[in-house]
């Protein structure tokens, strides 16, 4: 007996089930433990900074900007986006559950979107908590409004979507996406801003730093990397940053959906 099945773009019950199952999959104990560790790293550093600095010398803005801008944006967000977005496809293939998802009358695009949404929600929640805790440690509950927290909370999910969609695209088209994702995140993204010229325009982080600037980082003690960055006179306008990020997300996501809809994802060890 054939079943009635509504097609179209309206959310369906299966989307909800799939999203819930994916969310649960993302929140496995080992993953959560790793995420909590990453989320609490800048908080722990901020606490250590605060406890070792005499009251008057403690600069909450500097601490917040270094921890939020340097670690939450520059490290936690990126590594979690790599881990969770590449896992959207590769985890299903590795645990061989993808056969169930791809042999049901739900379009592959919906399957991928539901799983990506679960990954994005998870990563956003983790980096939000991390950022809020850093602000609380740096400024205290009374002065938290002085921080750049509100702006950061707005830009973080955008960063999650931007990085997430790029890594998702990688996961749908290349084998071992995690390795390439990590190389991109901590190789290209870290060093491209130091290359003179317009290369930084090819870095997602460069645009995110324009959308959520943490200027006191620049006035803190400069290391060689920061000095190299300072030599680079290229600046990106805020509206350009919004435009590029707004274009990048749908383009990368669209290409990922397209690739996932036409490529084969049979678990390898079963292939004869």
């Amino acid at each position: 007996m054939a079943l009635r099945h509504a097609n179209g773009s309206k959310p369906q019950m299966s989307d909800l089930y799939l999203f819930r199952a994916s969310l649960r999959d993302m929140l496995r104990p080992r993953r959560v433990a790793a995420a909590v560790l990453l989320a609490t790293l800048p908080v722990a550093l901020a606490i250590a900074w605060r406890s070792t600095t005499p009251g008057a010398a403690f600069n909450p803005g500097l601490v917040y900007n270094i921890m939020a801008g340097g670690i939450v944006f520059g490290f936690t967000l990126v590594i979690l986006a790599v881990l969770f977005a590449t896992g959207v496809v590769s985890q299903e293939v590795e645990q061989k559950t993808i056969v169930y998802l791809l042999t049901r009358p739900v379009s592959r695009a919906r399957v991928l979107l539901a799983r990506f949404a679960a990954a994005a929600v998870t990563v956003t929640a983790i980096v939000w908590v991390s950022c809020v805790l850093v602000a609380l440690v740096a400024y205290g509950p009374a002065d938290i409004a002085q921080s750049r927290l509100a702006r950061d909370l707005l830009v973080l999910p955008i960063g999650v979507l931007a990085y997430g969609s790029v890594f998702l695209l990688a996961a749908t088209i290349i084998p071992k996406p995690l390795i390439y994702g990590l190389l991109f995140a901590f190789g290209w993204e870290s060093w491209v801003a130091m290359i003179p010229g317009s290369f930084q325009r090819m870095s997602i982080m460069a645009y995110l730093r324009v959308l959520a600037p943490h200027p006191q980082m620049a006035t803190s003690e400069r290391g060689p990397a920061e000095m190299l960055q300072a030599l680079n006179p290229e600046t990106i306008a805020v509206h350009t940053a919004w435009l590029v990020i707004a274009a990048l997300i749908p383009v990368a996501l669209g290409l990922a959906l397209l690739a996932f809809s036409v490529r084969e994802y049979a678990p390898k060890d079963d292939a004869e």
Binding site: L3, S14, Y17, A21, Q95, A266, E272
Partner: protein
């Protein structure tokens, strides 16, 4: 319901399925072959997980790859043992039933029915990670039948089941076949398969070696004479009489006191038509009669081992 036309599938330099043309009708069809024969490749092509490198695969008249119209009418029980280990059996079947288009009360009702049919209603609320191999197998079958598909593809569905479980599942698949649904079963357990169907697809090294009724296929295998075993009160007398038949190639009387003789013939049809008259004329008392190599296992052995 399933049609392959010159379908081939390559994995880089290795061929998984080589120019296979066949049809799978309604009822139960067994997909047989040793490891590496191409069974899993054929199943992956039919379930739309893979695309053929050359040729064509049609399921219910359509190309199956990423085709929701096909999946709506197809139930698939994979061989792989991959699960969402933190889910309960009921949650797993419910999610896949929802993805098959079931909703509301109908969803809960069908899930409960499917779990009952596979005998998992008592353990359905335990986590999949704690299930035995047999229970996991039953849950895989439950998710495949929950939406009442017209076409059931089962990859090694009897693996890991105890004898009772095998019997129950075999009966369930027979029931599907009797309902006029198309059931394609890949299995290594030839005895169980033989209880379900005589219709086979035999693959060997990526090629389709035989297709159709196993007994008709056996009749076509000329190079191996058919063996017939007869139990009688007078095996020597019957042997003497049988030697007069031109279709009998050889005769052997059992030495272990079972009063049985075994013969070989290249023309079983002629032999079976002459045997009753011969028995009646000689007044022999025949107590048993069997054809030990007229079965799936022998056909499988003869075709794959020469």
């Amino acid at each position: 319901m399933i049609e392959l036309t010159n379908a081939s599938r390559w994995y880089g330099q290795v061929i998984g399925l080589n120019d296979v043309t066949c049809t799978v009708p309604a009822g139960i069809t067994a997909l047989l072959g040793p490891n590496g024969a191409g069974k899993s490749t054929l199943i992956k092509l039919v379930t739309g997980q893979l695309k053929p490198t050359t040729g064509q695969v049609k399921v219910l008249g359509q190309t199956p790859f990423a085709n929701g119209r096909v999946y709506r009418r197809m139930g698939y029980c994979p061989e792989t043992d991959g699960f969402y280990e933190d889910m309960t059996g009921r949650e797993f079947v419910t999610m896949l039933a929802a993805m098959a288009g079931l909703r509301g009360e109908e969803l809960a009702k069908r899930v409960a029915e499917a779990l009952h049919i596979v005998g998992m209603e008592q353990s359905a609320d335990r986590k999949l990670g704690g299930y035995s191999k047999g229970m996991r197998q039953r849950i895989k079958v439950a998710q495949a039948i929950v939406h009442s598909p017209d076409l059931l593809i089962l990859d090694e569905p009897l693996n890991g089941l105890d004898p009772v479980g095998r019997h129950e599942m075999s009966e369930l698949f027979r029931q599907f076949g009797r309902q006029g649904k198309c059931v394609l079963i890949s299995s290594h357990i030839l005895y169980e398969v033989e209880q379900m169907t005589s219709n086979i697809l035999l693959l060997y090294r990526g090629r389709l070696l035989a297709q159709g009724d196993v007994y008709q296929i056996r009749a076509l295998i000329d190079r191996h004479p058919h063996r017939v075993a007869i139990r009688t009160d007078n095996p020597r007398g019957l042997a003497m009489a049988l030697l007069a038949l031109p279709c009998v190639l050889s005769l052997r009387i059992s030495e272990n006191g079972t009063k049985q003789l075994e013969l070989e013939t290249r023309d079983p049809e002629a032999f079976y038509s002459q045997l009753p008259d011969l028995v009646l004329a000689g007044g022999f008392h025949v107590t048993g009669f069997e054809s030990p190599d007229n079965n799936l296992e022998s056909v499988f052995r003869y075709l794959t081992q020469g």
